[in-house]
């Protein structure tokens, strides 16, 4: 038994604990009269002993059962209303605030911090925190003036916030990370203004959510994951309240829909936020919010049903993924294996088998009787992108051979026979670390991946779509586009007619071409003329495309307006 440190500790704690009550009593002239524990507060104080609460514990703990052990909750972090941490700002540069966060939130004092060398130190900077064997933790800090910075994002996957299933309070979506056994949430409420520390059990992590009683607007949240020994594993943090617009501009330009093109179908009694999910299925449209699932017929009649079984965030950046599969819709949380299937008639959800892999979803495609979901490589890892196959007759998941590349950002499409995946490897700072512009296609006939010619446009935030009878279309957030046609080589198809913005672009295959979706904007790629045309939209709206029509669900004063636009034909 090591006695050196133990002896020091014993001596020190005896000193730190101060005089025991017995010792105090021994020095007290009242000793011979009444024992200290029977004197009550006044005499105890007189004796120099702070026995102020004699009797109170007995009132609190009169049960025959042993008092419960208290979860070991840390001090609340200084989580902000308009920022993640700290509310008051932290002096110094990106390295300083990252190291301070590691110390305050995770108890990591010996860390290595590396800030993005390409970022301007006067602007937002991603910084990587490295500590022992823990996975790299990336934090985004921004300057707020006076030499102070604040964190606006911590790690991934993100947290989500939405209304609780029973309508009282709120639920916070939180996923388990590798090596975590539990977690502690630091939640900044706006009214009344406070930071609450909430323990999250392993069961909560398995469920992917935890409910909190308060209806107060939530500002920032920091979640600290703990292993079985209570050691910090990593942290994630996000911001859900009002943004400080001096830091993050949120003003958007609302473009009024061209009423000559769009036809209003109905006013719907559903509200639309940036987190609302709007997807088409064969017999209508589905609107998913945190508290409700709504089936909308193409004529606008609605059927309300169960709340989604995974958290659908009211704000941006939620991790719920909904994928239409013919007349049905599946939903899962990107970071949890559970998968559910929507019955559109009853608008209820049935759980099906668990997905074999979790993580950010690159995209999906239906080929024959299977839905293929491609899971991205982790940002900080080197794992190849993974493909899970869902048999849509038995609703059972299986695997196929992983994508032969590390891809963290990209797109997925199909020509009906092959699964086509394109993308690049990025780190958490959105910096491409492997500029692999070579798409790959999985042939189900021979069960192998084959490489396609390199895409000539920047691979950052790019998407791909198959245009029937034409070829593979690629476009990116810088609004460059190119087509891989029968010639076997890529050709530029010019700029996509949209405004530059900061979203991940998406594509929807339609009868005569492709509809591009980007930050509330739409554009149409004509498969006959190989040219783009703009589609005016309400940029606050959600859009869904079937093979023949595009639907717009736009927020209105009492709900939402559902409008429809016929998909342009090749002759348009």
């Amino acid at each position: 038994m090591p006695t050196d440190v133990i002896d020091q500790l014993r001596n020190y704690l005896d000193y730190a604990g101060g005089q025991t009550a017995a010792e105090t009593l021994a020095a007290s002239p009242a000793r011979s009269k009444v024992p200290w524990y029977r004197r009550g507060p006044v005499l105890a104080l007189l004796a120099g002993v702070l026995v102020l609460l004699v009797g109170v514990p007995a009132l609190l703990l009169t049960s025959d059962q042993a008092p419960p052990a208290v979860a070991e909750l840390p001090d609340p972090l200084d989580v902000g209303v308009e920022r993640v941490w700290p509310d008051a700002g932290y002096p110094g540069g990106p390295d300083d605030i990252a190291a301070a966060f590691a110390d305050h939130a995770l108890g990591w004092t010996d860390v290595e911090v590396v800030s993005d060398p390409q970022a301007s130190p006067d602007g937002p900077v991603w910084t990587t925190i490295r500590h022992d064997d823990s996975p790299d933790l990336e934090v985004l800090s921004v300057p707020i003036g006076a030499g102070l910075r604040v964190l606006m994002q911590v790690g991934s996957p993100g947290l989500t916030v939405g209304p609780a299933d029973d309508g009282t309070g709120q639920q916070i979506g939180i996923s388990r990370v590798e090596g975590s056994d539990s977690a502690v949430l630091h939640i900044r409420y706006v009214d009344p203004d406070r930071v609450e520390v909430v323990p999250v059990t392993g069961a909560d992590l398995d469920q992917g959510r935890i409910e909190v009683d308060s209806d107060s607007l939530i500002g920032g949240i920091v979640a600290v994951y703990l292993d079985a020994d209570g050691e910090s594993v990593t942290a994630v943090g996000g911001h859900f309240g009002p943004f400080d617009e001096s830091l993050i501009p949120t003003e958007t330009t609302v473009v009024a829909p061209d009423v000559e093109d769009w036809s209003i179908v109905a006013e719907l009694p559903v509200s639309v936020t940036s987190g609302t999910i709007f997807e088409p299925i064969d017999e209508g449209l589905v609107v998913l919010r945190g508290d409700s699932t709504t089936h909308v017929d193409f004529d606008g009649s609605t059927t309300f049903g169960e709340a989604p079984p995974v958290t659908v965030s009211a704000g941006c950046c939620g991790s719920a993924v909904a994928i239409p599969v013919g007349s049905q819709l599946i939903i899962f949380d990107a970071y949890a294996p559970g998968t559910w299937l929507l019955d559109p008639e009853t608008v209820t959800w049935d759980q099906i088998g668990d997905r074999p892999t979790t993580g950010d979803v690159l995209g999906s495609a239906v080929i024959a009787n299977h839905l293929y979901v491609v899971t991205a490589s982790p940002r900080a890892g080197t794992t190849n992108a993974h493909v899970a196959a869902l048999d849509i007759t038995t609703w059972q998941w299986t695997d196929i051979e992983p994508v032969p590349a590390v891809i963290s950002v990209g797109g997925v499409t199909t020509d009906g026979e092959r699964l086509i995946v394109a993308g690049v490897r990025q780190n958490g700072n959105n910096i491409i670390v492997e500029d692999n512009r070579q798409p790959v296609a999985y042939s189900f006939q021979n069960g192998t991946w084959e490489a396609l010619p390199d895409v000539p446009i920047d691979g950052q935030a790019a998407t791909v779509a198959w245009v029937d009878d034409v070829g593979l279309l690629a476009w990116n957030y810088e609004l460059d586009s190119a087509l891989l046609g029968d010639s076997g080589s890529w050709a530029s198809t010019g700029p996509v007619p949209m405004d530059f913005s900061e979203c991940y672009p998406q594509s929807r295959q339609v009868d005569s071409g492709t509809v591009a979706l980007f930050c509330g904007q739409l554009a149409y790629f004509n498969g006959a003329s190989l040219s783009w045309s703009a589609i005016p939209t309400n940029r606050e709206a959600k859009h869904a495309a079937t093979s023949t029509a595009i639907y717009e669900l736009a927020p209105a004063s009492d709900g939402a307006t559902l409008s429809v636009l016929s998909v342009p034909t090749a002759e348009d």
């Binding site: 090591p2 133990i6 009550a21 024992p35 007995a58 052990a69 050691e231």
Partner: protein, 155 residues
């Protein structure tokens, strides 16, 4: 027993128990909260002496009483006083900060097992964890303390 005999019995219990309880609760919750929790736990023991006196592991039980009582203080930052320049010549001045870098569970486990020499089963009961878990917390905590103080395992 007469009331006087009960008081004498309890006073003996306090004399024997209090230093161990105080060390454990101060290590877990810091000086101020740890002292309050110790006194609250002993006051509870007096009020429930008939039951506590018959317990196999009264210190472990009272640790949990003190821990429960300290619930309202948990948001306060745990602090440990500096080592005085006189009076504790053999204590490394870095010990308070080293102690502060341990988790609450590690501190309590180290003290209950190694300082108070509490049997593993009783310490596990006190902290509401398995024996394997408290052993691991204690080993990790002690190793961390040793690293912070620059003491090798062989020393």
């Amino acid at each position: 027993l007469t009331p006087a005999e009960v008081e004498r019995e309890f006073a003996g219990f306090v004399e024997e128990t209090e230093p161990r309880l105080l060390r454990a609760l101060v290590s877990a919750f810091g000086t101020e909260v740890g002292r309050e929790a110790t006194r609250d736990a002993l006051a509870y023991a007096w009020e429930n002496w008939g039951r506590v006196s018959g317990m196999e592991n009264p210190v472990g039980y009272l640790f949990r009483v003190g821990q429960s009582r300290s619930r309202t203080y948990l948001r306060e930052r745990v602090s440990f006083p500096e080592v005085p320049q006189r009076g504790l010549p053999d204590v490394d001045p870095r010990l308070p900060s080293a102690l502060g870098r341990l988790s609450r569970m590690q501190r309590a486990a180290v003290v209950l097992l190694y300082v108070d020499d509490m049997p593993e089963r009783e310490a596990a009961e006190a902290l509401g964890v398995s024996r394997a878990s408290i052993r691991k917390h204690a080993e990790r905590g002690l190793a961390k303390l040793r690293r912070s103080l620059g003491v090798s395992n062989a020393d």
